[in-house]
Symmetry: C2
Subunit: 394 residues, 2 copies
C-alpha cells in the first residue's frame, strides 16, 4: 500500500480544471475557464519567430540552459517592468513555467508546516492549493471594492508575529475582478514595512485595463525589496508556452534558483527564445490593446445582460479590466447546486467556495467573460439568470 505525504493529502483537485472536463460539450456556454480567447493568439507571428529561432539558434535553444532562463528575455522583461515604474534588472528575474510555478516556489521557499500566511478573501484557488502543500495556516482578510480591508489586516499583523508572507492580486483580481485603490496599495506597503513581512504580488491581469488610470503595482511602491512580483505571458500572449517570471531581491531569488534547479532544471528554452524574438519583432502592447478592446466589449455585454436577466438579490462586481466578474448570491443559495442546474441549461461557471481557504462561502460565483463570443455572452447570462430565479423561488 502506498502511503502518501501529508502534503498531498492536504491538496484539493482544482475545481476549475474539474469543471473544465464537465463542460467539454460545445453546446455549453462556459464562463468557467480563466483562459484567454485563442482567437487572439498571434499564431502567424509565432510561426515566424519559431522558425527563425530554430534556424538561427537551434542548438542552443534545444540544449540544457541556465536555470534562471534565457538572459535576453529576462532583459526584455526587466525593461517592461521598468517602464511600468518598477526598478528591476535582468539579474533579479527568474523565468518560470507560468506564474503558477512562481506561486508554488514562494510556498516552498518560505513555508514550514503551521506557518501563517495572509491572503485576500476570496483569493486565487490555484495559489491556495499550491500553498496548501506546505501545510500553512491561512488567514483571510476581507475585501471590498477598494481591495483588502486595511484595518483588519493591521489587526492581524499587530497580533501575529509568525506571518511568513502576504499574497495578493491587486489588479483585476482572480476571482473578483476588483482592483485595489492607490491608498490601499500604499497602506499595504507601509504595513509590510512596519511588520517586516514579504509581499507576493501576483499580476497576470494589470495590462488589461478598460477604463480609468493605471495604478502603480505594489512592486513599484516597494523601497525595501520586500515585494516578490509574479508576471506571466499567459494572458498577454498565450498560456500554452508556459512562460512566466518571478522578480525579487537577490537573497530570495538565489534560494528560488536552487528550488528551480531541482524542480525542473530550467523551463523550455526554445519557447523562451521564441517569446524574446516575438518581443523583438512585434509590438506586444498592440497585441494587448486589441485583446483589451475585445474583452471590454464582452465585459459590457455581460454586465448589461446581468442587469436585464439577473434577479435583483444577486450582487456582482463591475471590473475595470481583466476577465472576471464575481457574484454574491443570497446566503440561502449554494453555487455548487446551482451549477448542476446550470449545466442542464447549458451554461457553466465556477462556484466560488474554492476561492476561500477557510470560510468557503458557497453562495458565490466566478464568471469569466474572456472566451465566449459576444453573442453567446448575452444568451449565457440569460440562461444563468433563469436558473438563479428558479433557485430563489424554491
Amino acid at each position: 500500500m502506498m502511503q502518501f505525504s501529508k502534503s498531498v493529502e492536504n491538496m484539493q483537485p482544482s475545481d476549475i480544471r474539474e469543471i473544465g472536463k464537465l463542460t467539454a460539450d460545445p453546446e455549453v456556454i462556459s464562463f468557467a475557464g480563466g483562459m484567454p480567447d485563442p482567437e487572439f493568439f498571434p499564431i502567424e507571428a509565432l510561426r515566424k519567430v519559431s522558425d527563425l529561432v530554430l534556424q538561427e539558434d537551434g542548438k542552443a535553444a534545444l540544449q540544457y540552459n541556465a536555470t534562471a532562463g534565457y538572459l535576453p528575455l529576462r532583459e526584455k522583461i526587466a525593461t517592461r517592468m521598468t517602464n511600468m515604474g518598477m526598478q528591476v534588472s535582468a539579474e533579479s528575474i527568474i523565468l518560470t513555467s507560468g506564474s503558477q510555478q512562481g506561486i508554488d516556489f514562494c510556498g516552498k521557499v518560505f513555508l514550514n508546516e503551521g506557518d501563517a500566511i495572509i491572503c485576500e478573501s476570496p483569493s486565487y484557488s490555484g495559489a491556495l492549493n499550491a500553498f496548501s502543500a506546505y501545510l500553512p495556516e491561512f488567514i483571510e482578510i476581507p475585501t471590498d471594492d477598494q481591495g483588502m480591508d486595511m484595518a483588519a489586516l493591521e489587526k492581524v499583523m499587530a497580533s501575529k508575529s509568525s506571518v511568513k508572507f502576504i499574497y495578493v492580486i491587486p489588479d483585476f483580481q482572480n476571482p473578483t475582478g476588483r482592483s485595489w485603490s492607490l491608498e490601499r496599495r500604499q497602506k499595504l506597503i507601509a504595513l509590510a514595512n512596519k511588520y517586516d513581512v514579504p509581499v507576493i504580488e501576483d499580476d497576470p491581469y494589470s495590462s488589461f485595463r478598460f477604463e480609468g488610470d493605471r495604478l502603480p503595482t505594489l512592486k513599484s511602491l516597494d523601497t525595501e525589496n520586500r515585494v516578490i512580483y509574479l508576471g506571466t505571458f499567459s494572458k498577454m500572449l498565450c498560456p500554452g508556452l508556459r512562460v512566466g517570471w518571478i522578480a525579487g531581491g537577490i537573497e530570495v531569488l538565489s534560494k528560488i534558483e536552487i528550488i528551480k534547479q531541482v524542480a525542473d532544471i530550467h523551463s523550455n528554452s526554445l519557447t523562451q527564445r521564441e517569446v524574446a524574438k516575438y518581443l523583438e519583432l512585434y509590438n506586444l502592447d498592440d497585441q494587448i490593446k486589441g485583446v483589451t478592446k475585445a474583452y471590454k466589449k464582452r465585459r459590457d455585454i455581460m454586465v448589461d445582460a446581468m442587469k436585464e436577466f439577473f434577479p435583483s438579490e444577486c450582487a456582482h462586481t463591475k471590473p475595470e479590466g481583466g476577465i472576471f466578474i464575481w457574484i454574491d448570491l443570497p446566503e440561502s443559495l449554494n453555487a455548487r447546486e446551482i451549477l448542476l442546474e446550470a449545466v442542464k441549461e447549458k451554461v457553466a461557471f465556477i462556484p466560488g467556495g474554492g476561492f476561500f481557504p477557510n470560510s468557503k462561502k458557497e453562495n458565490t460565483i466566478r464568471l469569466s467573460f474572456a472566451t465566449m463570443p459576444d453573442e453567446k455572452i448575452k444568451e449565457g447570462v440569460k440562461r444563468l439568470g433563469k436558473v438563479l430565479k428558479k433557485a430563489l423561488t424554491k
Copy 2:
C-alpha cells in the same frame, strides 16, 4: 528579514550547474556536463514539425491544456513502453517538464519530514537535491558492477519499517555508467514486493546501449504496479524542450496530477505536440541509433585514453551504454581540489562527492564522454591524467 523554509535551507546548489558556469571558457575540454551532444539534435525536423503544429493546431497548442498532457503523445509513449515490455496505457502517464520534475513530484507525493528513502551509493545528485527539500533520511546502499548490493538492501528493509520508496537508475546509471544485472533487478522487485515498498525507476539512458543485450526495466518485471517509471526525451531527442513523463499506477498518478496542477498547471503544450508530430513523421529509433554509434566511439576513445594516460591507482568503470564513466581515486585524493588544478590545465569534470547523500566520498569523479568531439576526448584525458599523476606524487 526574510525567513526561509527548512526545506530550502536543506537544499544545495547543483555542483553540476555551478561547474558549468566555471567552464564556459571554450578552451576548456569539459567532461562535466550531463547533456547530449547538440550536433545530433534534429533541428531541421523540429523546424518542420513546429511549423506544422502551429499551422494545423495552433489555437489548441497555445491554449491551456489538460494537466496530464497531450493525449496523443501519452499514447505514443505508452506504445514505446509496451514495445519495451512494460504494460502501460496512456491513462497511466503524466507528461512532466523533463524527468527532473517527475523526481521532484515523487518526493512531494510520498515524503514527510524524517521519512526514510533508499538510493544507490552513489546516485544522481539532482534527485538527491530534489528529495532533500522534503527533509528525508537517506539510506545509501553500496553498489558494484552488477548494481545495488542486495544483501545490504535486504538487511535495511528487514530492519526498517518506515521506508517510503527506493530510488534507482538501473541502466547506465548517473553518475557511474553501471547497469544492473538481470538477477539484481529480479531480486529488487522481489524485495520491494515482500516489504511492500514503492520503487522509483529513473530511466533516461537505457536506449543508448553500445553492446550486450537490452535488459528488462524494473517496470517490466513489476506485477504489482509498484514501480513508478520516469522517462524523458531529453537524451533521446533534446533537453531544451523539457518533455519527460511519469508512468505508474492510477492511485499514485491521481495524486501526482494534483501536484502537477499546482506546480505549473501543465507543461508546454506546443512542445508536447511537436514531439508527438516528430514521432509521427520521423523515426526516433534511427535518431537514437545514430547518437548511440557516436557515443560508443567516444566511450572507446575515452577508455583507451584512460589506459594510456591515467595512473594505475585510479580505477574506472567501462559502461556498456549511456554517457558517463566513474573514477575511484585513491582515498588520499580530493576531487574538488583536483578540479581546481584541472581547470588550470583546461580540462573539467564533476567531483563525485555530491552524488552521495551522506558518505560524500570526495575521492571520486564523474566524466561524461557525450559532448566532446572525438579528437578532444583523448587530449582531455591526457591533461587529466597529468593532473592526477601530479596529485599522486605530492
